[in-house]
Amino acid sequence: MAALLELKDFHYSYGAIHVLKGISLYVNKGETVALIGSNGAGKTTTLRAISGLIPSQGMKNHIIYDGKPIQGKSGDKITAMGISHVFEGRHVFPKLTIEENLFTGGYLIKNKKEVHETIAKVYERFPRLKERRTQLAGTLSGGEQQMLAIGRALICKPRIILFDEPSLGLAPLIVKEVFKAIKEIKAEGTTILLVEQNSKLALKTADRAYVLKNGEIALSGNCNDLLENEEVQKAYLSGK
């Protein structure tokens, strides 16, 4: 089976700093893949390159989505192709209400009725958002903002969702809730690429995982195998 999303020998530099040194990975349809690693390993850069938020530096055929190269396309075009990105640090629109944020998420869907239906589904998943639908997103707590960011990403019915550090800065109880939602989304068959600092949680959520170290893939495999891998345990799971 051809992968839905594939990176082939992908390099990225910020000026003179070579951040990604030829990483290769793939995500099959319906699969949840985690990308773990320490600070500065290049996880976020990988996601931002996929969703077109950072310029592609002249290379063409290293990011393949659904059989087509997408490198060099602008972010809005990539979103329109069905790749949704839940940003690190959430990035909701602070001066719009929850409902307006969700409507903005449905920007690509021209059929108003369809948008209303999907928003209703998001409210079902996160009842707390419904309670506060007229509240400005900037006044929500971190956990609620994360739920809004996830809900907003779901509105345009993406084929693959990129999650960037969904647990960042959240209380443990809220993290649990957020990951419960991610597991539900996974169970519904949406393909997921998950970047996460909390390696244990990521490995328990995903099917397969890649370990990123200094811009290179150090290890990859099934999550269950990685959880028992001595090297992984020592480097990423100790104390957690």
Partner: protein, 331 residues
């Protein structure tokens, strides 16, 4: 949602109905005071330009110190087309506005990459370019420093020379253009503007073509400013290059900061308020800029929402204290 909307309009009907009557009958009250009528005509013109700037700055978050340049493109554009071709004035006004919108969009295409400080520098330079073009025009077609004359407003052969008749023409223009703006900013286009203003990365992540909408906002702004400029030139029948000067652009910016951005009433209150202030300060001309500077500082520091924003805040606070139960329980 529709329910709440209809309740609000019923609530406000008591306020709007007398206001509408006042606006319609004001020329009768000012029958022997043509200076006052002229002032009201100027208010209409500046309200239109300020609304254009509100779309650009308030909604799409792009600052511009080139409003008087687009205002001038409208004035000189309509003047030149009318003087050289003799086409009907309303037609040349619209033509000049469309040309201005096109120029604004061409200007915005490269400039849309720039943010706040650099965008203001780019717009300031653009304003200087237009000023230079107007004062040193090829063949002196704009009358250079002397300014230029044209016909006063007429519609379908009907002369609207007097301030009284121009007032009603202006009123129709204001209502039309403010209504169009209102529809626009409440549509998905308006949401796209607001999303870009608040976080352009996230907006792109929603599938919004950021550059397209930034350019579109400039186009709308260019149209509104130029239409106001064209109204101006056919009200006065004359334009001087001073109207296009950089200083005037700053005044437009002060208008919407004073009135408040992102609202229907903000640009209206701002335009009328600043014009009134100009009347009051007319006798102390050398201190005008000082007064604007102080005013601008006060508004940026203490009243970022402008007069209208502050009034809205006060109203909700009053309502909350009346209603008692405020939803602070979980925040």
């Amino acid at each position: 949602m529709n329910k709440t909307a209809s309740i609000v309009t019923k609530d406000k009907l008591g306020l709007y109905a007398p206001l509408a009557v006042l606006i319609l009958t004001v020329p009768l009250l000012l029958r022997n005071f043509s200076y006052g009528m002229m002032f009201l005509c100027f208010c209409e013109i500046y309200i239109i330009a300020a609304n254009g700037l509100d779309v650009l700055y308030g909604y799409s978050g792009q600052i511009s110190f080139a409003t008087s340049a687009f205002f001038g493109i409208g004035s000189y554009g309509s003047l030149l087309i009318h003087n050289y071709t003799g086409l009907p004035i309303l037609f040349t006004m619209i033509m000049a506005s469309i040309i201005s919108a096109a120029i604004a969009m061409i200007f915005a295409y490269p400039v849309s990459k720039l943010r706040f400080a650099f965008l203001s520098l780019a717009t300031i330079s653009f304003n200087y370019i237009i000023f230079q073009l107007v004062t040193r025009s090829p063949g002196g077609i704009t009358g250079d420093f002397n300014g230029a004359f044209t016909d006063q407003m007429s519609l379908f052969g009907l002369s609207l020379k007097s301030y009284y008749s121009f007032y009603y023409f202006g009123l129709v223009c204001v209502i039309l253009l403010v209504a169009v703006k209102n529809l626009l900013v409440k549509s998905r286009v308006g949401r796209a503007f607001l999303a870009i203003k608040q976080n352009h990365h996230a907006a792109e992540g929603m599938g919004i073509d950021v550059r397209k909408y930034k350019v579109l906002a400039f186009g709308i702004y260019g149209f509104y400013a130029a239409f106001a400029g064209a109204m101006y030139v056919h009200l006065v029948g004359y334009i001087s290059p001073e109207t296009v000067a950089q200083q005037q652009s700053v005044i437009f910016m002060i208008m919407i900061l004073f009135g408040g951005v992102c609202s229907n009433w903000g640009p209206i209150v701002g335009a009328v308020g600043i014009l009134l202030l100009q009347e009051v300060l007319g006798y102390a001309e050398q201190y005008q800029l000082l007064a604007y500077g102080i005013l601008l500082l006060i508004f940026i520091l203490f009243l970022p929402g402008g007069v209208v924003g502050a009034a809205k805040k006060l109203l909700t606070r009053l309502k909350n204290s009346k209603g008692g139960a405020v939803d602070h329980a979980n925040s």
